[in-house]
C-alpha cells in the first residue's frame, strides 16, 4: 500500500506540520479499502494476524478506554491488551490519546471496537504513519517494495532461503498480502481518477438540453422542469460566476422533479451535487456542498426522484440515442482529450441504458436470454456507478473482474450471433428471436475470389444436368463452408434457391449433395433464416420419409441446424416434422441390419442419432416438447440412453434436459428409469455429456423422488467430484445446479458432507460467473439448514464471501444469498461474523430491492439475525430509517413479502424501544389492514406480530379500534395449528382490553377457543384458556356491576 499511499492519495499541501488527507471521494475510498482489508484480516489469515510488527503503528485516537471490553486490561486512561508478544509487551497499548498497535489481529479488533468511528481511526492511523509497510515489516522490505515490484518476489524468496525460520515466512506472506492490496488500491484509484475528470461544460449542457426535452407536465415526462439559474453563458460554456469557476464549477440548475421539492444542483468538473439552495430574496446561491457527489446529473436525479428513475428507464433509449447523435456535433469544439472523455460518457450511458431496461423488464425482446451477456454488462454498469454504497461493499470480487469484463464484453458482443445460437440452451421461447438484419455483400465491394468461384458453380447447378450438378455440388463442398464469406456468397448468388429446389427433384444424388452443403452453411444464423424464408424446411421434413437412410440423416442434421430459432421450430412442427423425427429414433431398434443394399446407405444408429440431434434443437420450443411427448418420444429416448455412444448420448440427453423443464416430462423421466442412465453418464469422459446430464438432473431434481433416485444410483459422488473441476464453466454451472437441487433432500446433504462437497462449494464462492454462484449459494443455503454443516461453512471461511455477495444485483443470486446468510445466522457464532462484516446492514438494504422475492428472502434472513445478534435492539436502531422502511413494507401487495416482514417486525418488537418507534411509524393500522387475509402463512406471522405489538402503550386498544380483532377470531377456523397457536396468543393479548373482549365474544370466539383448550399443543391451550378467562372475568365484572 506504500506506493498507493504516496502516489495516489491526495495529501493536503504541506505547511501544517503533519500532513493530512484531503476529504475527497478518492481518499475516502482508499481508506475504506484499507479498512476493509484490515478488518477482514483476522478471519482470512488468522496465523498472520498474530505477527508482531517491527515497530508499532502509533497515532492519536479518539477512542475512549471504556469502549474496550474483554481481552483488555482497562484503566481510566490506559488500555493494555491481554495479548502480548514474546517479551511480554502488550500488542495494543492505549494511553489517552496515543494508541500503539503491533499486530493485525489487534488492528482488526480495534476497528471493530471503534464501530462508527472506524473510518476516522483508520484515517488517523494512515496520516500518522506515512510509511506503514516499513513499520510493519521492517525497512528492508519497504525499500524493495517501493523500488521495484518485479524483483520483489525473488528477493523475498532469497530472504526465505537465507533464514528459514517460521517468522520470516509469515513476514513474506504478509508482504505479499500488502503488495496485493497495494496493487488493488492503485487499480482502484486509477478507476477513480478516470471517473473523476469527466464532466465539462459541453457534456453538462447536453445533459441539461436533453432533459429539458423530456420535461414538462404530464405522467410521461421525467421532470416537471429544469432551469439554469443564470441566462448568461461565458465564452467557455460555463454559467457559474468566474470566482466559482476557479473551483471547477460549471453551472447551477434548478430541477423540479415530479415527486420532490425543487433541487438546486451544482454541476462542477468533479461531478454533480446538491448545493445549499437559492435564497429567495436575493437570488443568491449558497454554494456549499450539501450532499454526495454524483457522476452526472442523471445519476443524481435518479437517486433523488423515484419517478424520474422510472420514467427515465422508459425514455432512456431515446435519450441515449440522442446523446450519441449529439456527441459528434459537439465534440469537435472541445479539445482532443475532451472528445475522448465524451465518448466515454456516452458509452457509459448507453450501457446504463441497457441495464435499466433490464431492470424494468421491458427487455424480453431487446435483451435475449443470454445469461453471459447480461451478467457481464451488469458488472460493467457497476463500475460506472459511483454510489459510495456500492463502492464500499463492492469488495474484491467485483474489482478483480472488472478489468476482465470490458474485454470479455466486447468479445462477446462481436460474436454475439454465434454465441447466442450455440450457448443458449436455456429453454425460453423468447430466446434469440430477434431477426438479424440481412447484410448482403455489396455488389462492387472487394469480393474474395471464392465468391466468383462459387458463382460459377451455382451456374452449373442451375444449367447442368444431373452429372454436372453432382460435380458442382462436390466441388462446392471443397470450399470452407464454415467461413461466413462462402456461406453468404452461396446465398448472394442465388445458390440457396437452387439447393432447395434440388431437394424437390427425384435425383437422390443431387439431394444428398445439396443437403451436405445446406447442413454446413446452416450454421450461419442468417442462412438459417433465408432457408426458412425460402420454404426449405417443409421439403426437408418430407425427405425424412425417404427410404434412403443417408438422406434422412442429412435432412435431420440440417433441420437440427436450422431449427435454432423459434420460427423455424414452429415450421417444423406445423409440417409434422416432430412425429417424423421421433420415428427416426425408432430406427436404432433393429440392430441386426440386413447387408448393405445400397451404396449410399448409412447405419440405423446414425439415423437415430441425427433424429435426436434435430429433436434437441426443436425441443427448445414449448409446443415442440409437447409434440415430442405425444409422438411417444420419451420411451424411445430412454432406450437410446442405454447405448454407450457419446455421439448418440449427447443429443439424447440434450433433448431430455431441454424437455425436463416440463412437469409431464419429469414424471415420465422418473417412470422410464432415465435417472439411472443419467447418473451413469455423469461418469463419462465427455465434458459435454457430463454437462447435459447434470443439467437434466438439475431440472428433474425439483422432484423429491428423483432426488432420492439420484442418491440411490450413486449419483452424488460423481457430482461432488465434478465440483472440483472448475475450468469448464458451463459444466460447472450445470453440476452446481444439480448439487443445489439434490441438496434439498436431507439425506443427500449428509452424503455431500461425506464427500467433502460443502468445503468445495465454499471454495467456489469467489471468482465464478454468476450462473455458477447462484447454484453454489443455493446449495449452501440448503446445506445450512443443518447445524453441522453451518459449522463447516463457518470454519472454511464461507461466511465472508457469502456476505460479500449480498451487494450483487442478480435477483436469483440475491434470493439464494439471503437465504444462505439467514441460515448461517441461526448459529450465534456465525452471527457474530456476519455482524462484524456488516451483513445485517446489507440485508436490510436489500429490503429496498425492487424484486419482491429478494425483499421477502432478505426479510426472512433478517429474523435469525435479529434473534441472535448480541445487541439486537441497538443494532436495529443504528440503521437510519431502517424501522420506517420495514413498517412501510407492510404496504406491499405480495403475500410472501408481507409474511416475512411480519416475522421481522415480531423480532424487532422484542425490544421495547424499537416497538415504541415502530408504533410511532404507524405499524398498528398497517397490520390491522392486513388482517382480512386467507393466506395461512401470512395469518400466522401476522398474528404473532400483533400479539408482540400489543406489549406497547395503548396498542391493544388501537388494534381494536382498527378492527383487527374480528378477522383474527376467524383465523381460529383455519386448518393450520400454527395459525391457531399464534392467533390464540394474539387474542389473549388483545383480551386484556375490555372492548376487544366484547368484539371477540360477539364474533363467537369463546366457542372456538374452548375447542382449542382441548388441543394437545400446550402453548395453544394456555393462550386459549387465558383468553377465555379474560373474557369471562369481564362478563363477571359486568354482572356484578349490574346487580350491585
Amino acid at each position: 500500500m506504500g506506493v498507493a499511499l504516496t502516489r495516489s492519495a491526495q495529501w493536503t499541501a504541506a505547511g501544517h506540520g503533519a500532513k493530512t488527507l484531503e476529504v475527497t471521494p478518492l481518499n475516502e475510498a482508499i481508506v475504506k479499502e484499507i479498512m476493509m482489508f484490515v478488518e477482514s484480516f483476522i478471519y482470512k489469515y488468522p496465523q498472520e494476524a498474530n505477527y508482531v510488527f517491527v515497530e508499532p503503528l502509533e497515532w492519536k485516537t479518539n477512542l475512549d478506554p471504556s469502549a474496550f471490553g474483554s481481552g483488555y486490561a482497562v484503566s481510566e486512561t490506559t488500555v493494555k491488551s491481554e495479548e502480548v508478544d514474546k517479551n511480554g509487551e502488550p500488542l495494543l497499548y492505549l494511553s489517552v490519546p496515543q494508541i500503539k498497535i503491533r499486530s493485525f489481529g489487534q488492528l482488526s479488533r480495534m476497528l471493530y471496537i471503534a464501530k462508527s468511528m472506524k473510518l476516522k481511526e483508520a484515517q488517523a492511523c494512515i496520516e500518522a504513519n506515512r510509511n506503514p509497510v516499513a513499520k510493519i515489516l521492517g525497512l528492508d522490505y519497504n525499500i524493495i517494495n517501493g523500488k521495484n515490484g518485479n524483483s520483489f518476489v525473488s528477493s523475498v524468496l532469497d530472504k526465505m532461503n537465507k533464514d528459514d525460520d517460521p517468522e520470516s515466512e509469515i513476514k513474506m506472506k504478509i508482504a505479499l498480502q500488502l503488495k496485493q492490496l497495494d496493487l488493488h488500491l492503485l487499480n482502484h484509484s486509477l478507476k477513480h481518477i478516470s471517473l473523476e475528470i469527466r464532466l465539462n461544460s459541453g457534456t453538462v449542457k447536453n445533459d441539461i438540453e436533453l432533459l429539458k426535452q423530456f420535461s414538462g407536465k404530464g405522467e410521461q415526462t421525467v421532470l416537471e422542469s429544469i432551469e439554469y439559474t443564470s441566462d448568461y453563458e461565458f465564452s467557455n460554456g460555463c454559467r457559474a460566476p468566474p470566482w466559482r469557476q476557479i473551483q471547477g464549477e460549471i453551472c447551477y440548475v434548478l430541477v423540479k422533479p415530479h415527486d420532490a421539492e425543487i433541487l438546486c444542483v451544482t454541476c462542477s468538473k468533479e461531478g454533480v451535487f446538491l448545493n445549499g439552495g437559492k435564497t429567495d430574496d436575493e437570488g443568491q446561491i449558497n454554494y456549499e456542498r450539501k450532499g454526495e457527489i454524483y457522476k452526472d446529473l442523471v445519476t443524481l436525479l435518479k437517486e433523488k426522484s423515484a419517478i424520474f428513475s422510472e420514467n427515465m428507464s422508459k425514455q432512456e433509449v431515446k435519450f441515449s440515442e440522442q446523446l450519441q447523435k449529439d456527441q459528434p456535433n459537439k465534440a469537435p469544439k472541445e479539445e482532443v482529450a475532451v472528445t475522448h472523455k465524451t465518448s466515454i460518457t456516452s458509452r457509459k450511458s448507453a450501457q446504463e441504458n441497457r441495464i435499466n431496461l433490464g431492470r424494468s423488464q421491458l427487455t424480453k425482446r431487446l435483451e435475449p436470454s443470454l445469461n453471459w451477456r447480461t451478467s457481464v454488462s451488469s458488472k460493467e454498469s457497476r463500475n460506472t456507478l459511483r454510489d459510495t454504497q456500492v463502492e464500499k461493499h463492492g469488495g474484491k470480487l467485483e474489482k478483480s473482474r472488472s478489468s476482465l469484463s470490458s474485454g470479455r464484453a466486447q468479445l462477446i458482443r462481436k460474436s454475439v450471433e454465434k454465441i447466442e445460437e450455440i450457448i443458449s440452451d436455456s429453454s425460453s421461447e423468447s430466446e434469440e428471436d430477434e431477426e438479424q438484419p440481412d447484410h448482403r455483400q455489396e455488389a462492387n465491394a472487394d469480393l474474395p475470389s471464392e465468391y466468383w468461384q462459387i458463382q460459377k458453380l451455382v451456374k452449373y447447378l442451375k444449367g447442368g444436368n444431373q452429372t454436372a450438378t453432382v460435380i458442382a455440388l462436390c466441388s462446392m463442398k471443397d470450399f470452407n463452408l464454415a467461413q461466413e464469406t462462402c456461406q453468404l456468397a452461396i446465398r448472394d448468388v442465388g445458390g440457396l434457391e437452387v439447393l432447395i429446389n434440388l431437394l424437390e427433384t427425384d435425383e437422390v444424388k443431387c439431394k444428398i449433395g445439396s443437403l451436405k452443403i445446406l447442413k454446413e452453411i446452416s450454421h450461419n444464423p442468417q442462412i438459417r433464416r433465408n432457408i426458412v424464408d425460402l420454404g426449405g424446411l417443409p421439403v426437408m421434413v418430407n425427405i425424412l420419409d425417404s427410404p434412403h437412410k443417408s438422406l434422412k440423416c442429412l435432412a435431420a442434421e440440417t433441420i437440427a441446424n436450422v431449427a435454432k430459432f423459434k420460427r423455424a421450430r414452429r415450421v417444423v412442427r406445423r409440417h409434422g416434422g416432430i412425429t417424423k423425427l421421433v420415428a427416426l429414433l425408432d430406427c436404432g431398434k433393429h440392430s441386426a441390419e440386413p447387408a448393405q443394399s445400397s451404396l449410399y446407405e448409412t447405419r440405423d444408429v446414425e439415423v437415430a442419432r441425427c433424429g435426436a440431434l434435430a429433436l434437441w434443437s426443436c425441443s427448445k420450443s414449448y409446443a415442440n416438447k409437447e409434440s415430442i411427448r405425444k409422438a411417444g418420444g420419451i420411451p424411445l429416448l430412454a432406450r437410446l440412453l442405454k447405448t454407450s455412444h457419446e455421439d448418440m448420448l449427447i443429443p439424447v440427453v440434450g433433448t431430455l434436459q431441454e424437455c425436463a423443464s416440463e412437469e409431464n416430462y419429469r414424471a415420465a423421466i422418473k417412470a422410464e428409469r432415465i435417472i439411472e442412465n443419467l447418473v451413469k453418464n455423469l461418469n463419462s469422459e465427455n465434458e459435454q455429456l457430463q454437462e447435459h446430464c447434470a443439467m437434466a438432473i438439475y431440472q428433474c431434481a425439483e422432484d423429491e423422488d428423483t432426488r432420492d433416485l439420484v442418491r440411490l444410483h450413486g449419483g452424488l459422488k460423481p457430482l461432488a467430484s465434478l465440483l472440483t473441476n472448475t475450468d469448464n464453466k458451463e459444466r460447472l454451472a450445470a453440476v452446481t445446479g444439480a448439487v443445489w437441487k439434490c441438496s434439498i433432500s436431507k439425506e443427500n446433504v449428509t452424503k455431500f458432507r461425506e464427500y467433502k462437497a460443502i468445503e468445495t462449494l465454499v471454495g467456489l464462492l469467489t471468482d465464478q460467473p454468476e450462473e455458477v454462484l447462484v447454484n453454489v449459494v443455493g446449495a449452501l443455503g440448503e446445506c445450512c439448514q443443518e447445524h453441522e454443516n453451518r459449522i463447516i461453512i463457518r470454519k472454511c471461511g464461507g461466511i465472508q464471501p457469502l456476505v460479500n455477495l449480498l451487494v450483487g444485483i442478480n435477483q436469483a443470486l440475491l434470493v439464494n444469498v439471503t437465504k444462505a446468510v439467514g441460515a448461517c445466522a441461526v448459529e450465534p457464532e456465525s452471527m457474530m461474523i456476519i455482524d462484524r462484516l456488516d451483513g445485517v446492514r446489507l440485508l436490510w438494504s436489500l429490503l429496498k430491492n425492487p424484486h419482491p422475492d429478494v425483499k421477502a428472502s432478505a426479510a426472512w434472513a433478517l429474523c435469525p439475525c435479529i434473534q441472535n445478534a448480541k445487541d439486537a435492539g441497538e443494532m436495529v436502531r443504528s440503521f437510519v430509517g431502517g424501522l420506517e422502511l420495514v413498517v412501510n413494507l407492510l404496504k406491499s401487495e405480495n403475500k410472501e413479502v408481507l409474511a416475512s416482514v411480519c416475522a421481522v417486525i415480531t423480532n424487532i418488537a422484542k425490544d421495547q424501544e424499537n416497538l415504541a418507534v415502530i408504533t410511532d411509524h404507524g405499524v398498528v393500522p398497517l397490520l390491522s389492514k392486513l388482517a382480512n387475509t386467507n393466506n395461512d402463512k401470512l395469518r400466522r406471522h401476522l398474528a404473532e406480530t400483533i400479539s408482540r405489538c400489543c406489549m406497547w402503550g395503548r396498542n391493544r386498544v388501537a388494534f381494536g379500534e382498527h378492527k383487527a380483532v374480528a378477522p383474527l377470531v376467524r383465523y381460529l377456523k383455519s386448518n393450520d395449528t400454527n395459525v391457531h397457536r399464534a392467533t390464540a396468543q394474539a387474542l389473549y393479548q388483545l383480551s386484556e382490553d375490555a372492548d376487544n373482549c366484547i368484539t371477540m365474544h360477539e364474533n363467537g370466539a369463546v366457542k372456538l377457543l374452548l375447542d382449542m383448550v382441548g388441543s394437545p399443543d400446550e402453548e395453544l391451550q394456555e393462550a386459549a384458556a387465558g383468553c377465555i378467562s379474560n373474557i369471562r372475568r369481564l362478563a363477571l365484572a359486568i354482572e356484578k356491576a349490574r346487580y350491585s
Binding site: 444449367g463 452429372t467 454436372a468 453432382v470 460435380i471 455440388l473 462436390c474 471443397d478 444428398i512 449410399y600
Partner: protein, 210 residues
C-alpha cells in the same frame, strides 16, 4: 434346354460369382438365352451384341446416355469380342445388382476410361460431359462452360496433378465422397430398377419357395 449342360454351366459360373445363389444364376442364364433368342447353348461364344444390350440397358435399367451405354457394353465385354457371352452377362449383372463398393468402383472406372492406358484423360472427360449443360445459348459459351466444368472435375479428382485421372485418383476421390462414383454420367442402374429387375428375374424362385 439340356439340364445337364445348364447344371454344368451354373457350376462353373458359380465358382467365379459369389453374390448369386445357384438358382439365381440359373434364372439369369435362362433370361440370357431368351434374350439371345436361341436355344442352342453349345455356341458358348455367341452372345448379346451391342445393340441388343443397349436396348436392355435402356428398357430394363433406364439408361439413356448413348456414349455411356456403349461404354457399359465394353465394360461387360471382358474379352473384347463385341459380344457379351453368358459368363460376362452373369458377372456383369452381379456388379450391377449386388456389387460391393469396390466392385462398383472398379466397374465405373472401366466405363469411364477409354484408351486402355488406365487413365481417364481430359479429352475423354470432355466427351462425357459434352451434353451435361442444357443448351441455353448454343455455340461457344457452352463449350467454354464444359471446359470449365472439366477443369473443376479435374481439380477435384486429379490428386497427382498430371492432367488425367488414374485409378488411384478415382478411388481416393470416390472414397472421400461417394457421390463421385458416377461422376461422369450414370453407368449403374438405379436402386429401384435393380429391385424391379430382380423381382422379375427371380420370380420363379420366389414363387416356388412358397
Amino acid at each position: 434346354m439340356d439340364q445337364k449342360v445348364l447344371k454344368r454351366l451354373v457350376e462353373s459360373i458359380s465358382k467365379s460369382v459369389n453374390s448369386f445363389k445357384k438358382s439365381e444364376i440359373e434364372c439369369l442364364i435362362r433370361i440370357f438365352h431368351n434374350l439371345v433368342g436361341r436355344g442352342d447353348v453349345k455356341l458358348a461364344n455367341v452372345g448379346l451384341d451391342r445393340n441388343t444390350f443397349r436396348v436392355i440397358l435402356h428398357s430394363v435399367f433406364g439408361m439413356t446416355d448413348d456414349v455411356l451405354m456403349n461404354r457399359v457394353f465394353f465394360a461387360f465385354d471382358k474379352d473384347n469380342d463385341n459380344y457379351i457371352n453368358v459368363k460376362e452377362w452373369v458377372r456383369g449383372l452381379s456388379v450391377f445388382l449386388r456389387g460391393t463398393f469396390e466392385e462398383k468402383l472398379r466397374f465405373c472406372f472401366e466405363v469411364y476410361y477409354f484408351n486402355g492406358d488406365g487413365y481417364i484423360s481430359r479429352e475423354r472427360i470432355y466427351d462425357m460431359l459434352k451434353n451435361s449443360l442444357h443448351q441455353q445459348s448454343p455455340g461457344e459459351e457452352t463449350d467454354e462452360g464444359i471446359t470449365e466444368l472439366v477443369d473443376i472435375a479435374l481439380k477435384k479428382m486429379d490428386y497427382d496433378n498430371d492432367g488425367k485421372i488414374s485409378f488411384a485418383d478415382f478411388e481416393k476421390a470416390v472414397k472421400e465422397d461417394r457421390l463421385l462414383l458416377e461422376v461422369f454420367g450414370p453407368c449403374l442402374p438405379e436402386a429401384k430398377s435393380c429391385l424391379d429387375f430382380e423381382a422379375l428375374a427371380f420370380q420363379h424362385i420366389l414363387t416356388s419357395s412358397f
